[in-house]
Amino acid sequence: MTALPSERLARLSWPRVVFVGLVVLFAVLTVPTLVDKHSWTGVTVTVAVTAILAYVYLTPKRIAARFLVPGTILLLAFQVYPIGYTIDTAFTNYGDGHRLSQSQAVAQIEADSVLEQPGAQRYELSVATKTADISGAFVFFLTDPNGKVERGDAAGLTPVPDSEVTKDQFTGKVITAAGWHILTGIQVNGLGQRLAAFEVPTGGGFIKSVGLSEAYVGQFTMKYDAAAKTMTDTRTGTVYKASDGEFKAVDGSGKTLPIGWKVGVGFKNFTSVLTNAAIRGPFLRVLVWTIAFAVLSVLSTFGLGLLLAVVMDHPRMRGRRLYSSLLLLPYAMPAFISTLVWASMYNKDFGLLNKLFGTHIDWLGSPWSARGSVLLTNLWLGFPYMFLVCAGLLQAVPQELKEVARVDGASPFRVFRSVTMPTVLIGAMPLLIASFGYNFNNFNVIRLLTDGAPYPSGSSTAGDTDILISYTYRLSFGGQGAQYGLASAISFLLFVLVGLISYAGFRQTRQLEEVYAR
């Protein structure tokens, strides 16, 4: 049966039309900006996505795709692309000192090397054009300290007789010039990068503008030879050659220029994880503590949460609502605040805990007490969630089963172990694995509570309470500024590690479910 076009249109429900309309509107608003920035990939992607969405939602077929396409697009944009980008970055030296491209770095080194010619005079500057607007070519009218006026352009300086100009009586700045329009300050500023790049050549240097109405004679102290790919310091004669993303002195002194650029470095970031003693040395110790921290956090929070849930579940329990809301308080408070408050409570001399108990425990100062403190705080932060989950799961335990067990003469503990626990575990297991993954990378609690401290003697890279993520964060961003390449490589390795552990965990759950299903 074929539908008439009018019927087909009638079948289009208005939410779909509105949705496609919004998508098209978004594209219409975005594309001009992208074109403006010459971002052709962006344009292609936007147009393609819009076309796909419009096609899928406006044709009567493709019903399954209507549900799959938006999710797929979001998955690509927010999951696949970042992972791809991270992997891509892992093979570069991208980071502080290596953020620019090579041509940008060369230009910046040269620009940074401009020094004012020693003893040179400054000029009062007026910028002028032939037409009244600033789109065309412009020239400099320069008044030297003696009041002599010259016109400067890319070819050089031309003397201008005083009869052709009028000058400000105090500064000597040219106010009018016959045949030229003197630009206002805002117009001068509007020239932007064109003005910044404009140079009037003079003997041994060039005249550049500085600010709105002044010019100085500058000269490069760094010269780039594009053919030889070398940078020469004209003051000392030192030659620097481009290699591995930076300019290195060829005289073997090991000197490098401050600005480098981004290049691919192959597997260097990955191999440095394995070969660099500072990274590899503490790695195992940190890994063991990370796993211990994650496992103990999950077990302790789940244990306490379950215990409280069972207590609350007891039919003779009174004031259940009040207790439950009190128990949920830690969950309602932002974890950042709680963690910082905990950190100050642990203070040895001024903290609440030692004052309360009259003790002198150096909570965060010695390795084991610090680890215990971290776990204690994390328990406090995490148990309400587990309590919530368990309270819900306990409702799902079939009452008949419990009663049957009781009739059969099972003790309450036996009922709990053989009936309640398995049912709760099946529901909770995926959440426990998720909780493990979360705690495995629980950066905040470590960062805010101890920041890895205390540190064993001779190691400032890995503290006793550091977990992998806080440790790698310090490696990548602590020592020598931000090293995104290295950070990406380590993130990727962590991603693989957590993926493997989670995979093993989920397999385990499936087996568990099969066992209990029998």
């Binding site: 903290g351 960062r447 961003f477």
Partner: protein, 452 residues
């Protein structure tokens, strides 16, 4: 990232941590944020105070959710940290009115330096950024700021230390407007001000503790991670240094001095006054509680900078400011002298206006004096300083405390120092062996510098 002043205020940590959680830990070290914000309102949150932490976290959520975006509607855009921005807006505004343009000063509360570097690389940065001079090395190596061609007369008008602090690789990169350094602040109700030596100060402090006036002899922030910025005056007194200098006076990253004889002499003093010794240096005193210990009268002596003055004045205590005393028989204390400065972006959209603003407006005496009035710190312009010091004895006292000061290093290698040196300091105070701790720290610093 450069860890400027590792005074981890709870506020800064919360702010940064919030940002980290939202950006997947891609932002850079929180320490630099702590440093930058500490310059204005450091250590303002007393420990165990839920309310201040709550305030911190609320700013965290609001600022972290919105990464800085350049205001597109004005001619000149300036980025500054959240405390300074409102103050600067007034000045920028009077410049704007005079030139018939519009200007906006945007506050960036999370890690301004790295936000600036990242935004500039993407072409979305401001025209001008305001920050401490130890940012220079990193901003230069990322091609984020441009040299400023000051005339010889303009250069001569600045205090020498201020000018040195903005000079890097022979170029002037910023316009300094205020200098800051550590000094000893005394609660004159509890102990005598201006002790001649460190030993005399400790004796005074311990006497105050004995008589029940105070509970701590001295508040010098250390924390579990150490604090090399606050330790520097005493490190210098013992003859130690962090980097040696090249013939031209600039720091040489190949000469790490952390394990030289002077630095080890300092380490010995750390142990002597540490938790296993006289118990004057304590890891339990950190950036969060040092100032509040002082303002609550629990200690007669505090080593801190002009950023804590506001809090101290508010407390109503009678206080006096004097140089940090050196060890008896050793040299005078050598605090770091840091400078707050304005930088012009290498990718500024309004270079001409930005240069005009920094070179010809901010270098004026009346402007520097007006800046002082809203942010009371020693002006970097000599004439402005001379005027201001006539009416504000605190400024003079801080300046006097900087007499033997050394410039806070701008070289990027400095970021490799804060961590290892701080941890060594904390370990020694906690009872670790001074010599091996310093040797280990030096080796780690050298390794990190060689790798970078």
């Amino acid at each position: 990232m450069v860890r400027y002043r590792p005074s981890l205020t709870t506020a800064a940590v919360a702010v940064v941590a919030a940002a980290l959680s939202l950006t997947g830990c891609s932002s850079s070290s929180s320490k630099s944020a702590a440093g930058s914000s500490s310059s204005t309102s450091s250590a303002s949150s007393p420990s165990a105070s839920g309310s201040s932490a709550a305030a911190a976290a609320s700013t965290a959520s609001s600022s972290a959710s919105a990464p800085p975006v350049r205001d597109p509607n004005t001619d000149l855009v300036i980025w500054a940290d959240a405390q300074r921005a409102p103050v600067l807006q007034q000045f920028a505004q009077s410049f704007a009115t005079a030139n018939g343009i519009s200007v906006s000063v945007q506050p960036v509360s999370t890690d301004l330096q790295s936000a600036y570097v990242t935004a500039t690389a993407a072409g979305k940065g401001p025209d001008i950024v305001v920050g401490a001079t130890d940012w220079i090395g990193n901003m230069v190596q990322n091609g984020a700021i441009s040299p400023l061609p000051l005339t010889a007369a303009q250069k001569g008008a600045f205090e020498t230390t201020a000018l040195n602090a903005v000079t890097y690789n022979g170029q002037v990169y910023g316009i300094p407007y205020a200098t800051e350094n550590l000094a000893l602040i005394t609660n004159t109700g509890e102990a005598a001000a201006n002790p001649a030596t460190f030993e005399a100060m400790v004796a005074n402090g311990q006497a105050a503790v004995k008589s029940g006036k105070a509970s701590e002899a001295l508040a010098m922030q250390i924390g579990q991670q150490g604090d090399p910025y606050t330790a520097q005056p005493l490190l210098g007194s013992a003859g130690g240094d962090i980097f040696g200098t090249k013939p031209d006076g600039s720091y040489d990253p190949s000469q790490v001095g952390v394990d030289n004889a002077g630095s080890k002499a300092f380490a010995a003093q750390l142990a002597k006054y540490g938790e296993k010794g006289q118990n004057v240096f304590k890891r339990s005193i950190d950036a969060d509680n040092a100032v509040s210990l002082f303002t609550s009268g629990k200690t007669p002596y505090l080593i801190s900078g002009p950023w804590s003055l506001e809090q101290i004045r508010k407390s109503g205590l009678k206080y006096a400011i004097s140089p940090v005393p050196g060890f008896a028989g050793l040299g005078p204390a050598q605090p770091f002298v840091g400078v707050q400065a304005f930088y012009v972006s290498a990718k500024a959209k309004n270079t001409a206006l930005a240069q005009e603003f920094t070179l010809n407006y901010l270098t004026r005496k009346d402007v520097e004096e007006a800046l002082y009035k809203v942010d009371p710190r020693a002006p970097a312009l000599t004439e402005a300083y001379n005027d201001v010091s006539k009416t504000d004895p605190d400024i003079t006292a801080f300046q006097a405390a900087a007499a033997h000061g050394v410039v806070l290093p701008q070289i990027p290698a400095m970021s490799a120092v804060w961590g290892p040196l701080g941890i060594a300091e904390a370990a020694i105070v906690g009872g670790a062996d001074p010599n091996t701790s310093m040797t280990n720290a030096a080796n780690q610093i050298r390794a990190a510098i060689a790798k970078g």
